[in-house]
Symmetry: D2
Subunit: 347 residues, 4 copies
């Protein structure tokens, strides 16, 4: 059994990790750390775990956790894990970091988007960007995984085959993303009150969202050229679900079947990626509660554009599920172990 | 492996049966019947089953299904299963009927509430009311299970210990119930359009809902006297979830701890029943996606009343989950096999 | 023109007052006070008022407001207005207090439910309980109105004719109430985050909600005997709307038409009360955005109970709308002036 | 008083017309026609009109309606009004058609997108496209108004100043639109059931939505060149509200203030258009229940793109409200008469 610790266990992503890991056949959940709930029983914080998880939360102490666990998931706010993680800890334990601290390779890019120096430049190169479908081989050998952002996961999976094949004009990419409210985490903020979110749609952080450099880094690496994207996130009054609508100009006059074949080549063996049929676009309700990413696309002859739509459950494939998928890869387990849950519809 | 057939596989309850049974370790899903989708692949109807269930639907033919299955779940509209099921079919296959056709024992009561004669009086006595926590022993020996209504399940589980102990005034019971919209099934009806349900609360079928005689039958049996209840269902704009608020006058001046002990005695060994702590009332979000029923109560000294609140996921413990729990009992499997899913929060 | 000031102008009820009063033909909105938004332009806080209300908020200073206004609405948290209001202020300005501070007549009852002494016993008797349909004549002469609670308004309007006529058993009344989330105000509290409320139903403050003594006081006064009720509020994931389901035992064997006549006698001339037809129950969507209260009922012969269902928009008839209705009465205007908005459906 | 008739009075747009027109000071609502509800009282169909509108519906007979009304609103499914309307009718009565029948000027374009010949080519040129802010002068003189589509209204108002000024690259425009469910009307369709829409996000009719040619026609006219756009609509689980996110490449290196000035020049005198401040994007909740269109934008220096976000209430500025605005213009009334309602927040 793999001994697991979670730091930041009482946020939405932390709770999702607990839920998935408790149902994982090869995992023993050892330590749940939550600075705000020290000595609280887990099921007193989240009543859905009643009679299921009575572990008492401890404080955040990575050193001591490293002694008792084989792998630690860090589901903390941004800016903390880069302070906590050290080379010596990584010698004792594998780390899967769900914050954005180790996702960007370039210190300069980091500074530009985060308006501060990176706390831990030494480990930047050690960290592997844990988009499983893209980095599987590196993940296997890594001890430090930077688990991708929710928007980034959905966006990159939509665009990966097109950029790897170099068939899309590099400067033409626009991503219009829509996310449920849990993407904001379990944080006390006026704008996330029910009365403020419900029955409304809004855009936010257009041109400035911090998943932009993360997506650009991966797309640039894939295509071998510098990719600059426009990315506009929107808040939608649902609990879970991300839908990304991606626009790009095709370099040549492809037809649907040719592109379809490219997607199938890239994703045929991918358990968690499902391609919709021609004329069908994915809907978030059909992936909710699961680690799937559904992708569909169409070609607009009139404008020469391709439009790709992808959906994920932001808390699962966009966070906790992919983190567990990374763990499975790192420990040489079946990649879908503990992650085969069928999407729950209606939710 | 238990070979399973489902008739009415393309309603919400049918889809929930498919989802649960596909994840059940001892089940082989053999036949999905749906009169409206003959020859359609299941995942073309419900896209959440993409790459998971490509079984082709067949027409409703109970005779032929009986030859290939060990148990058949009937998730049909009311009034059909009582026509289809015969003694000779029951010799070949076990049946779990999710409609209301076999829930009432009395032909007279049936006629009064359904305004028609029962189609199949002969089998009425053969059928066992499949509220697992109450009828476990009879279920074991039965070949025909009348799976309880969603409201009935939640209500009876709230009141069972109190009526079995005879500590509540028989004519004092009022149940005010709230249900999510999927309780109405996947039926095309103006009143279930998003624009009509969303952002609204309404009562319906007050004094006339057909779960009333079903609840009264069980409560009367439990208490040994005729129980007449007031039952008022309400429609709430959520997908899943039932919450029942039950009111009754206590015969004596009990305090909280005494009643708590009664509940614990009745439910201590029940895997799927969870009692909340003093001062905490259950919420539907904490049982969603699971087969749990959470129950909490308080005593109002000023009025001598006890108020009990229960919650279930209407499609699981209120329908498909309990049906599978019944199957587990009938086939002598662990009662919670395939049903241990942790409630998913936030949903 | 009536010069109006609002203290607590930046909560949900305050904003609703602003919206209604700006559209009132006889009102000049003079002062908006909000301790947290001093010097902020109102439309920078609530963007719906863009190009409509650019008044700058001032601090809470009742003394100085009293000099510039004919009437002041206090939409503050409970416990403040009883400190602020004095006899000398009431000589200068009329006050409509939307908090609970002046709703209870009895100091003892107040202490029992609020666990503290009342701050201002002297004015308790001066204040008139502003349920317009019940207290119209007293309101006319009053300078201090205690605007009723949202639940209380809906509940009392449902029960008023029955208790005034004395046809319902005094100790038999149970009210099961359902409210949208804005009833909790615009307060930063984990339990009101979208992710916590959405897709869930819960009961709260059963047996202990502070509208209980308020309802009991009015029903007792109406019936001439001490009425003790059971009242159970529930939180429903909609923005606006309260639905109360009221249960009581009839003293005699009335039929529907007799009770209907009683309601019609009491409410025939009431502009804001609408009775549904036999067999039809009110829905919150049909009163949203308006000052109406819709009421329907049925009689259950089997149990001798009457079940009455009432709905209001909690922010309008349950708060700001009724407050303006009170103002209209106090200033001898048409009672429905500025309040004739047709309910907006679909909302 | 203007005598008004409405054909198709019992859809969502019809009901919204009734609601607005009943509150319009210069309108007498004479005839409500609804083929499915002949002889039904209007408030028996929509209970929000109880005690407010008891007009009995009549059948659809444009000839006879034309004799009794000064203006008729047609809120019918597409393809009907082009059959009903004739030159002789237009001599007797003004018509505001809310369907798409008269929006496209070109018979060829119509045929391409609607896959059928237009029923009434003679009147195509007579009809004025009723986007009030754009066509005010033509509307004044017209007797036949083609009221714009909901998406088209929001999109064109976002882009109008930029295209009129010619500062955006013609082939660079992408519109990603999000709409609430009432946009689909009150039609019985499985995909609009609550259980199918709630808690889900989906794209639909990408590259094929019929508002595309309508938008292109207006934008091309504005810019004097052929504009071809990409337009992707999405369904969002809210009742009301459209948000359009518009992307385009700027021809030159403008900064924010320059573009802001352009918008202000175009919209300074427009009552219903509100520009948000720098850094603020509009939200649908702040226009709900009103005829406003809120617009905000940002410039992305990195990509040379401008991103414009617009919001409207799809049933008001996107349909019934704009139709009444057209009526006001045609009858030389204040353009905002009966349309000054303040957006209702929280809704």
């Amino acid at each position: 059994m793999i001994r697991v610790g979670i730091m930041g266990a009482t946020g939405y992503v932390g709770a999702e990790l607990v839920r998935i890991l408790l149902q994982h056949p090869k995992v023993e959940l050892k330590i749940l750390a939550s600075q705000n709930h020290i000595r609280c029983k887990y099921d007193s914080i989240f009543e859905n775990f009643k009679k299921i998880c009575e572990i008492k939360c401890v404080g955040n102490n990575l050193e001591s956790m490293a002694k008792e666990a084989d792998v630690i998931f860090l589901a903390l706010p941004h800016g903390i894990s880069s302070i906590l993680i050290t080379e010596s800890i990584l010698e004792k334990v594998k780390i899967i970091d769900l914050s954005s601290d180790f996702r960007l390779k370039s210190k300069e890019v980091y500074k530009k988007w985060y308006k501060t120096e990176h706390h831990n430049r030494d480990l930047l190169n050690k960290a592997v960007y844990g988009l499983c479908e893209l980095k599987r081989e590196s993940i296997k050998k890594s001890t430090l995984i930077a688990n991708p952002g929710c928007y980034s996961t959905c966006t990159i999976l939509c665009l990966l085959p097109l950029l790897a094949e170099g068939i899309i004009k590099e400067n033409s990419i626009i991503i219009d993303a829509k996310s449920g409210i849990t993407g904001a985490g379990r944080t006390l903020n006026l704008e996330f009150l029910f009365g403020e979110c419900n029955e409304s749609i809004k855009a936010y952080k257009i041109t400035s969202h911090r998943h932009i450099p993360e997506i650009e880094q991966q797309l640039s690496e894939l295509s071998g050229t510098d990719i600059i994207i426009t990315f506009s996130p929107h808040l939608i009054p649902v609990n879970r679900g991300i839908l990304t609508t991606c626009y790009g100009k095709l370099k040549n006059n492809f037809d649907y079947e040719e592109i379809k074949e490219i997607y199938e080549n890239y994703y045929f063996y991918e358990y968690f990626i499902r391609l919709t049929k021609k004329g069908v676009f994915p809907e978030t309700k059909f992936v909710k509660g699961s680690n799937y990413c559904d992708i569909g696309f169409t070609i607009e002859k009139r404008t020469g554009r391709i439009i790709i739509v992808g959906v994920i459950d932001n808390l699962i494939k966009g966070a906790a599920g992919q983190a567990v998928q990374n763990m499975n890869i790192m420990f040489d387990l079946d990649e879908n172990m503990g992650l085969k849950t069928i999407p729950i519809f209606p939710t």
